[in-house]
C-alpha cells in the first residue's frame, strides 16, 4: 500500500517536531519502502531524588497505516539485552501491553508523544534496571498473566470481574443501563462504562475476544471455577451449549 502525500507530510512534520527535543534523529525512506526514524535519543529523568541521564541508539518504524497503528521501535547498538522485554522474532521493544500501547498512542497520535510517553520511559526503565536490578515502575508478567494483570489494574477489579468486563468488549455488546459486572449495584454507564469506552475504539472486538479466550483456557487448565455464562464470549458460550445438548441427546 502507499501512503497519501498528506500522511508523508504529517510524518515529516512530526519528525521535525521531535527534532526540537531530539536533534540527532533523522527520517529515512529505505529501499524496502519503509520509513524509519533513526539516531540517538537522549533523556534526563528525575526519579526518587536522582537524575538519570542516558542515550540510546534507536530505530522507529512508521507502520504502513500510520497514524492508525502505533510505530514500533528497536534499540540498535545492542545496549539492551535480548531478554529484556523484547519481541523475540522482530527484536522490537515491548513498550507496553498491546491495548495499553494503543490507548496511550490514541491520546495524541504523534511521534513526539510516542517518544516521550512510550519509548523514553521504556529506555529509562532499562537504565534504572541496569543499576538496581529491578524496574522503576514495575513490569507486567510475561504473556497471558501480564495481560490479565493489565486488565485487572486498568479496571481496578479482580480476575473474574476483569474477564466479565472483557466479555462486554469481546461481544461488542454493553447496554449502558445493565448492572455493572463488578457488582457495584450501579448501572454500567455510572460505573465501568467509561473505562470500556476508552478501550473499545482501540482494537477490534476480535482482539479482546482472543485475549479473553486465552484467559478462559488458562483458567480451565488451572481448574478454576468460572461463571461461564458471564465470562465466555457469546460465540464460545453458544457453541458450548450446542455441544452439551448434542451430548445429552446421545446419552438419551
Amino acid at each position: 500500500m502507499t501512503l497519501g502525500e498528506d500522511v508523508v507530510q504529517l510524518v515529516i512534520d512530526q519528525v521535525a517536531e521531535v527534532q526540537a527535543e531530539q536533534p540527532d534523529l533523522e527520517l529515512t525512506l529505505e529501499y524496502t519502502g519503509e520509513m524509519l526514524v533513526r539516531g540517538t535519543v537522549r533523556f534526563s529523568i528525575d526519579h526518587e531524588g536522582r537524575t538519570y541521564r542516558d542515550a540510546y541508539r534507536v530505530q522507529i518504524a512508521i507502520p504502513p497505516d500510520y497514524p492508525e497503528s502505533v510505530p514500533t521501535a528497536k534499540e540498535t547498538a545492542e545496549a539492551i539485552p535480548a531478554d529484556f522485554h523484547r519481541f523475540l522474532k522482530t527484536g522490537n521493544l515491548c513498550l507496553a501491553a498491546p491495548v495499553e500501547l494503543m490507548r496511550v498512542f490514541a491520546q495524541n497520535r504523534s511521534l513526539l508523544h510516542f517518544t516521550n510517553r512510550l519509548l523514553i520511559p521504556y529506555l529509562f526503565s532499562y537504565t534504572y534496571y541496569r543499576e538496581h536490578g529491578q524496574l522503576p515502575h514495575g513490569e507486567l508478567s510475561h504473556g497471558l498473566l501480564g495481560l490479565l494483570e493489565y486488565y485487572r489494574e486498568f479496571f481496578g477489579v479482580g480476575v473474574i470481574k476483569a474477564m466479565k468486563l472483557l466479555k462486554l468488549l469481546a461481544d461488542a455488546f454493553a447496554p449502558p443501563l445493565m448492572p455493572c459486572p463488578c457488582d457495584s449495584s450501579r448501572t454500567l454507564q455510572d460505573c465501568h462504562g467509561p473505562k470500556l469506552d476508552e478501550l473499545r475504539p482501540l482494537l477490534p472486538a476480535e482482539h479482546f475476544e482472543a485475549d479473553l479466550r486465552d484467559m478462559i483456557a488458562a483458567a480451565q487448565t488451572a481448574k478454576l471455577p468460572l461463571p461461564e455464562r458471564d465470562v465466555m464470549p457469546k460465540r464460545m458460550w453458544k457453541n458450548r451449549q450446542k455441544r452439551i445438548r448434542k451430548a445429552s441427546a446421545r446419552r438419551r
Binding site: 502507499t2 501512503l3 502525500e5 508523508v8 519528525v15 520509513m35 537522549r42 529523568i45 526503565s125 524496574l135
Partner: protein, 409 residues
C-alpha cells in the same frame, strides 16, 4: 547496479520537483484571460486601434511552457505581444507605443490606474494586477517586420513571416522612426522562436501528448501542446530555479533566454529527465561560440542577434555562466552515487529552496512508501538530523507520569 537504480529514482524525484516548480494550470488560464481581455479592450469597436485589428499573444516562458512559480515575493511576469496591422512606414516607434498607451489610459479603461510606471517601460506597458494575484502583464506594442531582410540568412520562411518590430525608447530613432536594416533592438520574433523551440523537442512533445491522450482516453488531436511538458521543458524549469536560488539578486546571473536557447540546442529528445539534464548541461557549454574573440549565443531565428552580447562589456556574466554549468554538472553526477542519493533531499533544498524540495520529496516518498525495490539500495534521507553539540549534547528532561509497564508476549 545501484547506479542505475539511483538514476531512476533521481529521475522520478526531478519530475516531482519540476512539477512543483511549474506554474499551475489555473495561473496559465488566468494569464490567458488577462491578456485576452486586454486584446478585447484594445480592439473594441470604439477604440482608435480597432482599424488595425490588434492581435495579442503570449511570448517568453509562458508561451514556451518553461515558466516557473516565482520565488518568495516575486511575481508572475507574463509577456504579451500586441501586434497592430500597421507598417513601419506608417508609424514611428513613439506613435505606436503611445497609441496603445492612450487606449490603456482611456477614461473608460479598467487599466488606466494599473499602469506601472504610468509613462510606460522601455519597450512595454506594464499592467499591475491586484495585490493578491501576484501577477503583472507586460504588453509589447509592435508591428510586423515587413523588411524580410533576413530571408537570405537561411531562416525558413515559415518562421521569418512572424518577425516583428517592437518599440525601444533607447534607440535614437524612437521619436522619429525605426533603425535601418541590420540587427537592432527593435527586431524580434517570439512566435518564430516558439516554433523553433517546439521543433527542437518535436519527438518528445508528440510522445508526451500521445501518453496523455492514452491516459485520458482522448484523441491525440484533442491534446494541446500546453497540457504536457517534455523533459526539455522540465530541464529548463529546473535549471532556471537552480539559477534563481544560486544567484538570487545578482544582476550578472545567467539569463533565461540564454539558458532556454542553449538547452534546446543541446537537447536530443532524451525521454528521461535525469538523462536530459546530464546531457544538456555539457551540450550547453559546446553551443556557446567564440566569434573573433567575442562570446556568442546565436538567436536561432535571427543569426545576427547575439543573446550573449552583454558578456563582452561584463565578463563576469560569462564567468558566472560557466561556473554555474560546472556546478550543475558536478551536482548531477554526485546525486546518483549512493552517498549523494541518500542526501538528495538536502541537496534539493540547498539548490531549489526548502519549500519546493520538501514538496517534491513528499510526493516521491508517498509513491515509494510501502512499495520498495526488490534489490537493495541506498536509503533516502527525508528529514536530516539537526545535529546535537558533539562536546555537550543536550539531554531532554522528561517527566514520567502514568508510566506504562513493559510487557512481553
Amino acid at each position: 547496479m545501484t547506479g542505475t537504480r539511483n538514476r531512476q529514482h533521481v529521475s522520478q524525484i526531478l519530475r516531482d520537483l519540476a512539477e512543483t516548480l511549474d506554474v499551475p494550470p489555473s495561473k496559465y488560464d488566468e494569464a490567458k484571460q488577462h491578456y485576452q481581455a486586454v486584446g478585447d479592450w484594445l480592439g473594441a469597436e470604439d477604440s482608435e486601434l480597432a482599424p488595425f485589428n490588434p492581435e495579442i499573444y503570449a511570448q517568453g516562458s509562458f508561451a514556451l511552457g518553461t515558466a516557473v512559480r516565482p520565488l518568495g515575493e516575486d511575481e508572475y511576469d507574463v509577456d504579451a505581444v500586441c501586434l497592430l496591422g500597421l507598417t513601419t512606414d506608417q508609424v514611428t516607434q513613439k506613435q505606436l507605443k503611445e497609441m496603445v498607451g492612450r487606449r490603456l489610459k482611456h477614461p473608460g479603461s479598467r487599466y488606466k490606474d494599473k499602469l506601472d510606471p504610468n509613462g510606460g517601460g522601455r519597450r512595454c506597458w506594464t499592467i499591475q494586477y491586484a495585490d493578491g494575484s501576484k501577477f503583472h502583464l507586460d504588453v509589447l506594442p509592435c508591428v510586423l517586420d515587413d523588411s524580410r531582410w533576413f530571408v537570405g540568412l537561411g531562416i525558413p520562411s515559415g518562421i521569418v513571416e512572424h518577425a516583428i518590430r517592437l518599440t525601444d525608447k533607447k534607440t535614437p530613432e524612437y521619436p522619429t522612426g525605426w533603425p535601418a536594416n541590420g540587427h537592432d533592438p527593435t527586431r524580434s520574433n517570439p512566435k518564430g522562436y516558439a516554433m523553433w523551440f517546439k521543433d527542437r523537442m518535436r519527438v518528445s512533445l508528440n510522445e508526451a501528448k500521445a501518453a496523455l491522450a492514452m491516459e485520458k482516453r482522448a484523441s491525440v488531436e484533442e491534446i494541446e501542446d500546453y497540457q504536457v511538458r517534455t523533459p526539455l521543458q522540465r530541464a529548463i524549469q529546473i535549471l532556471k530555479r537552480h539559477r534563481d536560488v544560486r544567484y538570487n539578486g545578482d544582476d550578472d546571473k545567467p539569463i533565461s533566454i540564454i539558458i532556454t536557447t542553449l538547452a534546446a540546442k543541446a537537447y536530443d529528445n532524451e525521454a528521461d529527465l535525469y538523462e536530459a539534464v546530464l546531457n544538456i548541461v555539457p551540450g550547453m557549454r559546446q553551443h556557446i561560440e567564440q566569434r573573433n574573440g567575442v562570446w556568442w549565443v546565436e538567436n536561432p531565428v535571427n543569426p545576427l542577434e547575439n543573446f550573449a552580447d552583454k558578456w563582452q562589456e561584463c565578463p563576469r556574466k560569462a564567468e558566472l555562466f560557466f561556473e554555474w554549468l560546472d556546478a550543475v554538472e558536478a551536482e548531477y553526477q554526485y546525486i546518483i552515487t549512493d552517498d549523494g542519493f541518500t542526501k538528495v533531499g538536502t541537496y534539493l533544498a540547498e539548490s531549489y529552496g526548502q519549500r519546493d524540495a520538501k514538496t517534491a520529496m513528499t510526493k516521491y516518498a508517498s509513491r515509494q512508501v510501502g512499495r520498495g525495490d526488490a534489490a537493495p539500495g541506498a536509503p533516502v534521507i527525508l528529514v536530516p538530523k539537526r545535529g546535537n553539540r558533539v562536546d555537550e549534547p543536550s539531554y531532554t528532561n522528561i517527566k514520567v507520569t502514568e508510566p506504562s509497564r513493559p510487557w512481553q508476549a
